[in-house]
């Protein structure tokens, strides 16, 4: 019957049109979903934690590897058997993908073991608030070694790093300050390395302190005062020489007879170390004077000789 045939064709066309519309709709939905998902993945890690200090040093791997090879090849060939690649891997494993407020000394154990090396007796130089001067001194007088002159300290000096649970596991934007959390990768590293450096010292050890600092030359809160002093081994270390340096032309806040120095001497004597304290130890002061030859403090030195 002509009418019935006509309505069947209309129904067919309608079904076809609806089908096409549904397909198109699904396609559009798929495209929209796909772009949303991929867009989310390309965004620069929005889930990474945000901190107050500078982030991981860019090209950390190249810097650490280069310094390691530089140290064992060009400077200390007796350490030629060290594996710099393994050392880098062990440093990376200590913090990558971890929450940077949860770092422990154990995280650094493999690194410490791979990178540690013996330190000759009578050469250890500790320092507190005198970093610049201490390092200038060891560069011109290679009879002394600060932590930053050992392989571990040399690699890590002035470098920062921290991880994050989300990819890529390293946070180049920011890292926690000590005030945000104490168990951060940098603080834990230096505490652990300092402890090891103190434990390795033998014979006569030296410490350079700052007699121009208002808060006192010796502070119990410093790494020297809280970690290094207590990890010197009385069976290996015989004497502690304190060099109390004042800035040329700077305030003379403290000398060997000062309160904080007396406190340090008491702590050390209790642990059976012999102590000698010297105000403005000459060779280091001369280094200061080389850069301030016209200062009256330096003229006094010349006249008295």
């Amino acid at each position: 019957m002509p009418l019935q045939q006509g309505s069947a064709r209309v129904r067919q066309r309608t079904v076809l049109l609806v089908g096409i519309a549904v397909l198109l709709g699904a396609l559009v939905l798929a495209v929209v979903l796909a772009s949303l998902l991929t867009h989310g993945r390309h965004e620069a890690s929005p889930e990474m934690l945000k901190w107050k200090d500078r982030g991981t040093t860019k090209n950390l791997q190249e810097v650490i590897l280069g310094r390691c090879y530089n140290y064992i090849t060009a400077q200390h060939p007796e350490l030629g058997d060290k594996d710099c690649l393994k050392i880098w891997e062990s440093l990376k494993d200590a913090f990558i993908y971890k929450n940077p407020c949860n770092i422990t000394p154990e995280d650094y154990q493999p690194l410490m073991e791979l990178a540690s090396h013996p330190i000759p007796c009578n050469k250890s130089l500790f320092w507190s608030k005198t970093g610049d001067l201490a390092h200038r001194y060891t560069k011109s007088n290679q009879n002394f070694l600060t932590l930053e002159d050992t392989l571990l300290g040399y690699m890590a000096d002035k470098v920062s790093w921290c991880g994050d649970p989300s990819a890529p596991g390293i946070n180049y934007e920011s890292c926690p300050k000590r005030s945000e959390c104490e168990s951060n990768p940098g603080s834990v590293f230096w505490k652990t390395a300092s402890k090891m450096f103190a434990e390795a010292a033998c014979g006569v050890v030296q410490v350079m302190l700052n007699g121009s600092v208002e808060a006192g030359a010796f502070r119990s809160s410093s790494i020297f005062g809280s970690i290094e002093v207590f990890n010197l081994d009385p069976d290996k270390v015989s004497e502690v020489h304190i060099w109390l340096m004042q800035d040329i032309g700077g305030p003379q806040s403290e000398s060997c007879s000062g309160h904080s120095i007396q406190r340090l001497i008491n702590i050390l004597e209790e642990r059976n170390f012999k102590i000698i304290c010297e105000d403005n130890y000459r060779p280091v002061q001369l280094l200061q004077c080389v850069h301030n030859p016209d200062h009256t403090d330096c003229r006094l030195c010349t006249n008295s000789s």
């Binding site: 190249e62 810097v63 280069g66 090849t73 011109s140 000459r282 001369l286 080389v290 010349t302 000789s305």
Partner: protein
């Protein structure tokens, strides 16, 4: 085969590492540099070539990639007193010696050479200056010295060793042959010479005497404003020991 030390082990890692160390930590003011490209340019200067046929200009691309401004009044030239220079310069903070520039920093204290018809580095030995003048390392430092002198300005300092055998101002020498001829006279206001003796060393040369006099005369003839100090104060402090 050759008489000099062979290529330093892990040379590539050391050069690239030092490059990043410099631009990220030592002197970030120089801005972004492509350290891999810099290594390639360095290597291509001497790889696959007879290590006695290397010329300063072979390092031209390397220098172009590592060049940066040297702040005026900070240049510190020297002869025979590297330890003292490092102490004076304070890692570029007080002065910027050649070893404190990016191009000097990446190569300081290293040895390297290649061989003709081989893409590898020679780790066994490298030629010394005596064996051939145009060797890989000397040509590098000639190019670096030329560049350093060309980009120095303001007050120039020269630190000489008054205890050195043969005099404080060596001739031939890098300062005499590659640096003085490349100083840009119109950019330099004054040349300050310091003659410092080694601790407990002999006082062989001083201002106005011997080789130092030769140097002073040469610079004055070239039209520079020259002063010379025997830096006695520094010497006396060091002797105070």
């Amino acid at each position: 085969k050759w008489k000099g030390e062979g290529t330093t082990q892990n040379l590539e890692s050391i050069v690239i590492g030092r490059c990043y160390d410099y631009i990220r930590i030592v002197n970030p003011a120089v801005g972004e540099k492509n350290c891999s490209q810099i290594w390639e340019a360095f290597k291509n200067a001497f790889i696959n070539k007879d290590p006695c046929s290397i010329l300063p200009k072979d390092y031209e691309l390397f220098i172009n990639l590592t060049l940066h401004t040297i702040p005026p009044n900070k240049s510190l030239f020297w002869e025979n007193n590297q330890l003292l220079v490092n102490s004076f310069a304070d890692r570029g903070r007080r002065y910027m010696s050649l070893g404190d520039t990016l191009f000097g920093f990446v190569a300081d204290f290293l040895y390297w050479c290649g061989q003709a018809d081989s893409p590898g580095l020679d780790y066994e030995s490298c030629p010394t200056t005596v064996e051939c003048e145009n060797n890989t390392v000397d040509s590098f430092w000639r190019m670096a010295s030329i560049t350093y002198a060309q980009h120095s300005s303001g007050v120039i300092h020269v630190l000489l060793n008054g205890s050195a055998d043969g005099g404080a101002y060596p001739q031939p020498g890098f300062f005499a042959d590659y640096e003085i001829p490349n100083l840009q006279k119109d950019k330099i206001s004054q040349i300050v010479i310091w003659v410092v003796d080694d601790i407990e060393g002999p006082d062989i040369d001083s201002c106005g005497v011997n080789t130092v006099k030769t140097l002073e005369t040469r610079l004055k003839t070239l039209g520079y404003d020259v002063t010379c100090t025997d830096n006695n104060k520094s010497v006396m402090f060091l002797l105070c020991l």
